[in-house]
Amino acid sequence: MEVITLNGISKSFLVAKRPSGIKHAVKSLFHREYTTVEALRDISFSIAPGEIVGYIGPNGAGKSTTIKIMSGILVPDSGTCTIHGYTPWLERVPYVKNIGVVFGQRSQLWWDVPVMDSFELLRDIYNIPQAEYRDNLTLLVDTLDLGSIIHTPVRQLSLGQRMRCEIAASLLHSPSILFLDEPTIGLDAVSKIAVRHFIKTINKEKGVTVILTTHDMNDIEALADRILLIGKGTLLYDGSVQGLRGQFGTRRTITAEYRENSNPLDIPGASLLSWTPDRAILSVDTEQILISDAITRLSSQVELLDVTIDTQPIEDIIVQMYKEYEL
């Protein structure tokens, strides 16, 4: 039983365009040229209840557009989208009670009043029963550590504090689906970890389905069981993080430190990323040479002092995929 089903969703925008310069500025007074930007092309996927799905892609790939369509803000040009049995943009008001949305770059809290006032406003807007509101609030305050900031006006909060409040605000009405559009943007390491931990917790304890877009691959590795990769409006990959590694991440990085040796290293199937007389970084393609063979060869050429082997960070895999798909 799928909770979210998108089928053939396409969306294009008209963008006014003109070359720079006074001449063209004057010209555009009389005649304006528009280009059509295809933000989404035939996007289809479905998501089961309780999944955490990472939605990734370069800037301008169409991530936020998809989130906006799924939250009923934008109307797609074609295609169908069924979430919880609703079509978001047609049945907006009854539908939105079931979802929580966090736009990392925007704010839903009232700037000049304490966070608590905004929460109480949301309680009334969503018509949340008092008992449910109290339980949710207690859970959110505890897990997001909001106790000390909840009575502070929003304008006096740091970005990390505000973001934690934003996330709490989106969950007060116990939505069963949570859309997070770059929830960790601009946060420091501690706040990021707090936010990730929290997302895991509500997913486990309340079974909330989470769709999250991010540019921070650590978010994805820490949270998502499944990733959707989108580029230039097209869905490129749909599967597990491990699957992505298996498909693209066949390279390992070997960092070797050794006694001074002026002879350059020569290992087939591995390329030298950097080299100094006492330190070398190699990129090894495991499809061409086994790691053990590479190290054997290495130790035969130099007097090894220390060796570390790193799997390719998922960022690199993504960059590699972008290159492969020419995004």
Partner: protein, 268 residues
């Protein structure tokens, strides 16, 4: 059903009431301009060739009411948060709420005006009721006129909020509040009788003014207060106000629905 709107209203009122310094400065400004307006009218009346259709004392009372209730009647009072909401795209959040945006914004704007007027009107009204003649505010001829004034001012306020909603809706199209705000505030202010009371305008201009809705928001209640408009006329006026109010709200909702259908929230 009304709970979300009441909640927005309450929050905005309590938020607005915290700006004491702004209110104090406002009161000072209102007194200053009140005296200037009155002195200009005194000069006009001293040299009038024929008796105008409003007495000087009525005009003075009219001016003080205008200064005291400024926040309830001017179109240039704006909520920059709403403009930013539209132009920055934060409206995305409003669109994810299970409520009508028109109602939420209406409640917010209404509360902003009320909180702002509550802080300002009493100091001004108390002081001008005790000023020496001829600057003193003259109380309404009887209690019924006073009550009719309150009713007409209230409906006028509801109309002003409905009118100002149109400014916010226009920003969906123009993406900049400057133009609509300027147009609405200059024309609206003039046609509402805030520069000169409507009875002092030339006849041909009065004809235009009476076709437009603006004079119902300020000129009408103030003249009910001064007794320049009779109680019978006030009652038919209230009916006209209600009709205008209904029309403005329906038009606003209709245009907002249309604007929201084609809204594009860009970026991020």
């Amino acid at each position: 059903m009304m709970k979300p709107y009441l909640s927005v209203f309450r929050l905005r009122i309590s938020n607005g009431l915290q700006y004491r310094a702004a209110a104090l400065a406002g009161v000072g400004t209102q007194f200053f301009f009140g005296f200037i307006f009155i002195m200009i009218f005194q000069a006009f009346y001293a040299h009038a060739s024929e008796a105008p259709s409003m007495t000087l004392s009525q005009v003075i009372t009219y001016t003080w009411l205008k200064q005291a209730f400024l926040a309830l009647i001017v179109l240039w009072l704006r909520d920059n948060e709403l403009f930013q909401l539209i132009t920055s795209g934060n409206i995305a959040y409003e669109l994810c709420r299970p409520s009508e945006i028109y109602g939420l914004w209406y409640a917010k704007l209404l509360a902003q005006r009320l909180s702002s007027a509550l802080l300002r009107c009493f100091p001004i009204l108390i002081v001008v009721a005790f000023l020496p003649e001829p600057y003193r505010l003259q109380l309404p001829p009887d209690i019924v006129s006073g009550l009719l004034f309150l009713a007409t001012l209230l409906i006028g306020l509801l109309m002003i909020v409905a009118l100002s909603m149109l400014i916010y809706i226009s920003v969906f199209v123009t993406m900049s509040p400057a133009g609509s705000l300027l147009l609405f505030s200059i024309f609206g202010e003039f046609f509402a009788g805030l520069i000169i009371p409507v009875p002092l305008m030339p006849d041909w201009m009065q004809k235009i003014v009476y076709i437009l809705p603006f004079h119902w928001t300020a000129d009408f209640p103030f003249r009910v207060f001064t007794g320049n408009i009779s109680k019978a006329e006030a009652l038919t006026g209230i009916l006209a106000q209600c009709l205008w109010l209904a029309a403005l709200i329906l038009f606003g909702k209709f245009t907002m629905d249309r604007a929201l259908k084609r809204v594009v929230v860009q970026g991020g």
